[in-house]
Amino acid sequence: MTVSEVLIQGSGPEVDPEPRIKKIAGRSPMRIAMDRLLSDKIAMLCAVIVLLYILIAIFAPQLCRLFGVEVRAGDPVTDTDSFNYPIIGPPNYGFTWEAPLGLEPNSGNDLLAEWFYGARTSLMVAAIATIVSTVVGVVLGLIAGYSRGWGDRVVTFVIDLFLTLPFLLVAIAVSPMLVERWKENPAMLDNASLIALIVILTVFGWMGLARLIRGEVVSLREREFIEAAHVLGTPTHRILFKELLPNLVAPIVVSFSLSLPATIAAEATLAYLGVGVTGQPSWGQTILRAQNWFAEYPLFLYAPIVGIVVLVFALNLLGDAIRDAFDPKSFR
């Protein structure tokens, strides 16, 4: 091979002496989408960021030990001065490795530990709420789409009804009641606020997907393969979950990846309004407390906000990339 040939053809696999026939067949839509996603650099960067957050959430205790901080170990007497300002770190003193993000005024809790555990709360609540609402949305969407007549009408009515309920209004009004009710059960005492929060996020999270799935099923059920399954006497639950569901993977994955960041933002918003996890670190709660200190102690507020913004931004971009990967019409 001459130099000019190498220049024209390029080196590497192209100059394979036996050019193989490109394989075309045998790639499932899932595989194609996966390949497109893996070749998307921005999406991969976002995936890495999200993975980092997940690791932080999982290994929060170990990370705290690594930085030598302890969660919820602040003592208002020894860690804050007589004006409730922390005795080390910002805002009155410089940076210290004893508390890299400083201590919280009033309580003296370490803010880095609070941040690590806040990631845990945020991700856990959002993940559980999104998974449950996805399951609910898929099941109700399948039922509505596949059952003509009354089943469809009832589910559609319920979807419309829940879409008219104002989310924040109902959330801040209902959550104290849920907490109140569950507090009586000693087994749920610790987690009452957590469970109430997840329930609220779930109850308001399933309608969009249910509508989407219903629409897809309405058009899918007229197709030949469903008719064939029907004629063969396949039981309904088999048609729903073995025939229809695999065809709905794309909208479900896309909807999941886009509603996860929305749920994280909603969780933070609710926490800011005083609804949500109490007794455990949470970014929204930190922001709520940090607001009054903003003028003197901005880092207090910035840390949790950066946490939320970066995570939501990365998840949103990732969700967009996943949607584009599944969309045969889009080119990236």
Partner: protein, 338 residues
């Protein structure tokens, strides 16, 4: 056409009834005694019984619900107990239809409280709507025309970054930096047009409305961009260009039309849900609109007010839904409602 409107309205009425049922079930099935909260802190057992009778909480759930529906339709008189009304006729409060309830804590009908708060929320929603529509459509078109270029990426990326901020963060930043630290605008405080004129009204609304507008901007930019892009590749756009029309005319008159229908839908529903109260924004800027009213009612456990506001917000959304669907037929000649 009319058959469709009537059918939609009937479904709307059914939805409103279901909505009242759900809110009622939620609030009165709660473990707290509504009469205890309605009566206030220092309340003897007798007073509580009087309050319970006055608000009808001693009746079965279905009777209460029916009474509430009746109030919505024709209005009612408080206290609900006929004997109490006869005993003190001068203290009877008439709540005209659509009666949303009576707040025993404030000794006011919920309608009065809503009437005080709604103009504030509505002003906020209107100014925000204008901001995000102008911004969203202009940036969306800008991004679409320069598809794939740096401008496109900048606009889409920028709106996504803003979108990633929780709404309270935007509000807090705007308040702390623009108003407090830099002093560019005075601290926002709601001023009625009648009090301070149009400019005072607007300049005080600037920051809270901007918060809301930024919140909604991303969605509108992306949707305008997507629909304009789609229509820019259509044949009729090529025809329009080939005719020698100015590119401004092509974009605004021909390409934008395709984005109009989804824009109207989205605007209608977003505006309607905003009218239910922009809780976060109102709270950060302490605007005493519907959102603040909810927060206050929640703090004082004023169930009657909460029920009334949830219902009102739901009803606005239901009505907006119907209006938008009917508007569809006028904007988009391809839509035929059967």
């Amino acid at each position: 056409m009319w058959a469709y409107v009537v059918r939609r309205c009937l479904v709307g009425v059914a939805l409103i009834m279901a909505l009242t049922l759900i809110t009622f079930a939620l609030f009165f099935a709660s473990p707290v005694d509504p009469a205890r909260f309605a009566c206030g802190k220092n309340c003897s057992a007798e007073q509580r019984d009087v309050t319970r009778a006055a608000l009808g909480y001693d009746k079965p759930f279905v009777v209460q619900w029916a009474g509430y529906l009746k109030g919505l339709a024709v209005g009612r008189d408080f206290p609900l107990d006929a004997e109490q009304r006869a005993a003190a006729p001068d203290q009877v409060t008439h709540c005209a239809a659509p009666c949303l309830g009576y707040s025993h804590l404030d000794s006011k009908t919920v309608n009065e409280m809503v009437a005080d708060a709604l103009p504030i929320t509505a002003s906020l929603a209107i100014v925000a709507l204008v901001m995000w529509l102008i911004g969203g459509v202009l940036f969306g078109i800008l991004a679409a025309i320069h598809q794939g270029s740096l401008i496109d990426r900048g606009v889409v990326g920028g709106t996504l970054v803003i979108y990633a901020f929780p709404s309270f963060a935007i509000a807090v930043f705007l308040l702390q930096y623009v108003a407090v630290k830099w002093g560019i605008v005075p601290l926002p405080r709601y001023t009625e047009i009648a009090d301070g004129g149009l400019w005072a009204w607007f300049s005080n609304l600037l920051l809270p409305a901007l918060t809301l507008a930024l919140l909604y901007l991303a969605g509108y930019v992306r949707m305008t961009r997507a629909f304009v892009l789609e229509s820019l590749s259509e044949d009729y756009i090529r025809t329009a260009k080939a005719k020698g029309l100015k590119s401004r005319t092509v974009v605004f008159k021909h390409a934008l039309r395709a984005a109009l229908t989804p824009l109207v839908t989205m605007t209608g529903l977003d505006f309607a849900s905003l009218l239910g109260g922009a809780i976060i924004t109102e709270r950060v800027f302490t605007y005493h609109g519907l959102g603040m009213l909810t927060v206050d009612a929640n703090n004082s456990s004023d169930l009657a007010v909460l029920v009334g506001i949830v219902l009102l917000a739901g009803m606005i959304v239901i009505i907006a839904n119907i209006v938008v669907d009917v508007l569809y037929a006028y904007i988009d000649p391809r839509v035929k409602v059967a």
